[in-house]
Symmetry: C2
Subunit: 393 residues, 2 copies
DNA sequence: GTATTTTTGTCTGATGGTCGATCATAATTG
DNA sequence: CAATTATGATCGACCATCAGACAAAAATAC
């Protein structure tokens, strides 16, 4: 009858809360940019003072926490804010596209420090592309060592790198080798992820939201986040919407060899291939003619409309709270407008409740997402625990 | 040098670590039908003998573990298998459809002990339907108390029961009240879930597989499991594919008030509404005429084809390893055949690698899935821990 | 200036869960 | 019978954690 819901700890009792390890305390601090005072932490975690201070000593020693300027207080000694020490820690975010790559240097707090954009040809041998990227990276780093690096790739990325990339633009790449080479070159852990999925992570605003991010540049891809969790799929191919069949594309040949694919209508490659745009050599040229060439806007709008139709199905199926559209083509106003309109037209009303269809936050959402993924991976509680053990030993 | 571990993970990846609590030991035992000997457990967990025995004492005392017949051994004293005690524990699985309900009594090991099928009208007041279900349940139980019950509903089910059911068949239901009334009536915890999602859980064979289960009877619904995790969506509406727009249904009015919905083509309700089937009053009658009425099979096949088209999009997006099709209409051979063919035609090849499109395992997959969900919920490590604390106090 | 308040810093001893080890017993095979 | 393996029941030692005491620091209120 008397329900002992509240578990009370006593002397010698093992920790009551699930989260009293140094790793979890760091996670707490990471979750709040303003940080917490020691008193806050005692209050939140319910730990004994001596225990908490021991943890903090270890975190200080490892350089994971620092003491920020004192906070304001009504009376009494002002508390000193403790924060996750993301100062002077750099992350490299490399975004690989079909024709260009972006190399971004970010702070751990996800501010972009410096960027390079360079033309590449993804069809060339992996080694050549990688060595150019590494050269740019070294220039940006200027001798500094990053804590981690992330790479966004325009193809499905299986977490175990076992996926056949056969039919994709990266058919001739070896992801395991890519990771090994980069880790050796940069002397830091390297994480590989699909580009659109990275972008989706970069678009996340609230910890448990559900969102779909779509990237439309040369190709089309999407990243899906359900209740804060990234959906990767059975073979890491989740979100690869480019080859969903849409009626509008019937009869149009896709580079995958089939016809009717979404990518054959709603992608930069498809736009470039249209006869009226034969004069444009690159997607960038075409996009730049958005205002000057009267043919561009209608074509872009039509592409957006088709994408909207396909997205409506995903929205009905997965019920996200937000759709972010990015990429060179995706951010064009007419594209987004047509896409949004078609979604509102096609999707079932209950799934449209509170649904936002918005442009992707910034051109660098992918790099920001990669930075976040790297941070999550590097400073996951278990990993922090390992780090501290190594330090001590 | 820096020790570099491969980075896997990011937001949404649950932590993995050694677990030595009683709850985790029970989970270990639950995962193996044959059970483990004490020596096995010492080996697997690496715990001290005294500690492990203490845990086992508690689990024995709570009736959660029992000692099975001795196992084989090459020499020496034969080990005694310890198993999760699922004997004499009953779970009630109630499947609510538009016109019929199935009440199933299952053992915790998911064998069906007894079943009842009864006609209901989901349009009637909730209290009336529920009281009939409870009556049937009491008859099946015959005085015994179940450890838990699960209800599969043909509508989106928000875990917090906050979702507006406005536009669904359950518009006049109150899920919180349903749960409260049933818990009081059955004197056990009650879990509510969408029917197709329950079915998906019932179809799971391997712990980390990805699959999509589709239920086609009066309505259409689906359940999505990604790497072993059920996808519920932002408002619990994930998998509600009935109102995805398909070109084939253009001009056809759906009961949701729009036109072009998948449910307006590929559902039992849509079939029944077709002019050539005006003679049939119920879906069951129509399905029973599958062999005798020459009009039925083509119509069913066409419905399957349309579903296949919609599924191809989901398959491309989520990249599951298996698609299971069930429900009164879904299991018809021509339906499945047409659906499978259309999927193979429409979906992108990489997402078809190793993809199986199969009929749902049994008519009772939903009940089996509910049973599994109830078990997972009842015997989750944290909950077991609570249970033991209460026992002790 | 003093009083008050709140945070921080540094101890202490007490508790109890976990380990590791020992010794004993049981139940098989050969 | 011996050898082997699993189980049963202890025990003391360790040590992470707790609770609490005490003092100093740094601000506000009067």
């Amino acid at each position: 009858m008397s329900q002992q819901r509240t578990l009370v700890g006593g002397p010698g009792q093992p920790p009551v809360g699930p989260a009293t390890s140094a790793g979890h305390i760091l996670q707490l601090l990471r979750s709040s940019p303003a940080g917490y005072s020691r008193a806050d932490l005692l209050d939140i975690t319910g730990m004994a003072r001596s225990t908490l201070y021991e943890r903090l000593d270890a975190l200080f020693a490892a350089g994971l926490v620092y003491e920020a300027t004192p906070l304001r207080s009504q009376r009494g000694r002002p508390p000193r804010a403790l924060r996750f020490d993301d100062r002077d820690k750099l992350v490299l975010g490399i975004e690989i596209g079909h024709t260009h790559a972006g190399v971004h240097l970010l702070s751990l707090s996800r501010d972009i420090v410096a960027s390079r954009r360079l033309p590449i040809d993804i069809g060339q041998p992996q080694e050549d592309v990688v060595s150019r990227l590494m050269e740019q990276s070294r220039q940006l780093l200027d001798g500094r060592r990053p804590v981690g690096a992330g790479v966004g790739l325009p193809a499905p990325v299986d977490p175990l790198h076992r996926l056949g990339l056969e039919r994709t633009v990266l058919a001739h790449w070896d992801l395991q080798r890519l990771q090994d080479v980069m880790e050796a070159s940069l002397d830091c852990p390297v994480l590989l992820e699909n580009d659109a999925r990275s972008m989706a992570v970069g678009e996340v605003r609230h910890p448990f939201e559900s969102l779909v991010a779509v990237k439309v540049s040369t190709g089309v891809g999407s990243g899906i986040i359900v209740r804060g969790a990234l959906v990767r799929g059975a073979h890491g191919a989740a979100g690869d919407i480019g080859h969903v069949r849409v009626p509008e594309a019937a009869g149009r040949l896709c580079r995958c060899g089939r016809d009717g694919c979404l990518a054959a209508m709603a992608s930069g490659r498809a736009l470039l291939a249209a006869p009226q745009f034969a004069a444009y050599r690159t997607l960038r040229q075409l996009v730049d003619a958005y205002d000057s060439d009267p043919d561009v806007r209608p074509a872009v709008a039509e592409a957006g409309r088709v994408l909207g139709r396909a997205l409506a199905a995903i929205i009905g199926t997965l019920n996200p709270g937000r759709v972010a559209v990015g990429g060179l083509v995706g951010v064009l106003p007419d594209f987004l407008q047509a896409c949004r309109r078609q979604i509102l037209d096609d999707a079932f009303e209950p799934s449209l409740v509170d649904l936002e269809v918005v442009p992707a936050d910034s051109r660098a959402a992918t790099a920001v997402g990669l930075c976040r993924l790297v941070e999550e991976s590097l400073y996951a509680p278990e990993r922090v625990e390992q780090m501290l053990v190594q330090q001590a030993g």
